[in-house]
Symmetry: C2
Subunit: 231 residues, 2 copies
């Protein structure tokens, strides 16, 4: 048996699918709950559709653009920390080699064993800084191309997800009927996406399905209850 199939799995469970599932299950949840909530207070399908579309637009921008900027911040943070580490290996090399040594001492190695390891790592500045970034700071270099791609995927999936609970209010006559169609269609979609999400996060897929549907259902029920209570 090869010892590293789980590592492979980490890297191949396509990030794009993960982004689609994240965007879509969030897109399903909040617009669904919002539309259901408003339907507890108003009887005009038009208002529900307007509010739902406004939410989808706002949510997809906040999620997509917010995610993009956060990823860019991570990349800048990585680069800033990396520059600082590089400067420190030049300015205070003895402190930085001591930090490398400490990492290995923490794994129970004696000073005799640590010596050559530290010498090997600090013999090449790039490797040395690589080591400090990964093992001291626990930072991995973010992929600069991932951020825009990931943000766009999440935003588009959010929009696609949000249109699922909203479409019954556009197509079915009567807010009450539309609400029930929306509940059935959306819970089914949440179950499917929760299942896929579970598979991609290594969780039990059935539990993923139930959890995702439960969050959506709970959010919708709470939104419905509060909207009805105040109107």
């Amino acid at each position: 048996m090869p010892a590293t199939p789980h590592v492979e799995k980490h890297f191949t469970s396509t990030e794009v699918v993960r982004d689609i599932v994240i965007g879509m299950s969030d897109g399903l949840t909040v617009p669904f709950a919002l539309a259901a909530g408003i339907s507890g207070a108003v009887s005009s399908a038009r208002i529900i559709v307007v509010a739902g579309l406004a939410e989808i637009v706002a949510g997809s921008i906040a999620m997509g653009l917010g995610g993009f900027l956060a990823a860019r911040t991570d990349l800048e943070h990585y680069r800033t920390e990396r520059e600082r580490e590089t400067r420190e290996t030049k300015a205070v090399p003895e402190l930085e080699t001591e930090e490398v040594a400490q990492v290995f001492r923490d794994y129970g190695m004696t000073d005799d064993q640590v010596g050559p390891v530290v010498a090997a790592i600090s013999g090449d500045r790039k490797r040395w800084v690589d080591f400090m970034m990964r093992f001291e700071l626990g930072l991995e270099e973010p992929d600069p191309n991932r951020a825009p791609q990931s943000a766009a995927t999440i935003a588009v999936s959010y929009i696609a997800g949000g249109l699922i609970p909203l479409s019954p209010y556009m197509l079915v006559t009567g807010v009450g009927n539309a609400l029930w169609v929306s509940v059935v269609v959306t819970l089914a979609a949440l179950l499917i996406f929760g299942y896929i999400k579970g598979r991609f996060t290594g969780l039990n897929p059935l539990r993923g399905a139930i959890q995702t549907a439960a969050i959506g259902g709970l959010a919708a029920a709470a939104a419905f209850t509060i909207a009805r209570a105040i109107s």
Copy 2:
């Protein structure tokens, strides 16, 4: 100059403040954009307040509960991978020691240098598995207490943040007036929270302020435009 203040900074920039800022800036953005959007289509402040509160309830549940379950999934994932690594150190120790050796070879160490390091690390199973988790899989053990606390903090902050853009619609007479008060108050709040967020993520605070306000403003403008277009 101590070489590790940046490490300290990582761990002490209180996670709670970070959660408050995350929840609050998201809570400010989507309910703000939603309320502004609906105000482009309807003239009833009551409907805007109902929709806004429904969104706040739905969003805080989706964000809080979703975040909580995601954190619990991370913890379970860590434990599953850890059990698998522990099993593998027993079942295929030669492959696992080879994986440890490979990590150090990648840092330019010779086989002579790698030998004692691998022996020291694999001499204690807990350390060995610790090493594999951190350096091979890049996984850190999540704090089991963080998840519920973080989820609750984010949810409550989302609610508090969402009430800021919504309160003018409850307090100011006339949807048009309320919209302008909401825009001014919310943009000011987004600037403040973006500034704080920038400080806590190591970004330039002024840029954080402008970015956060820009996302909120853009989301609100887009929601307003689409709501007005379809109504």
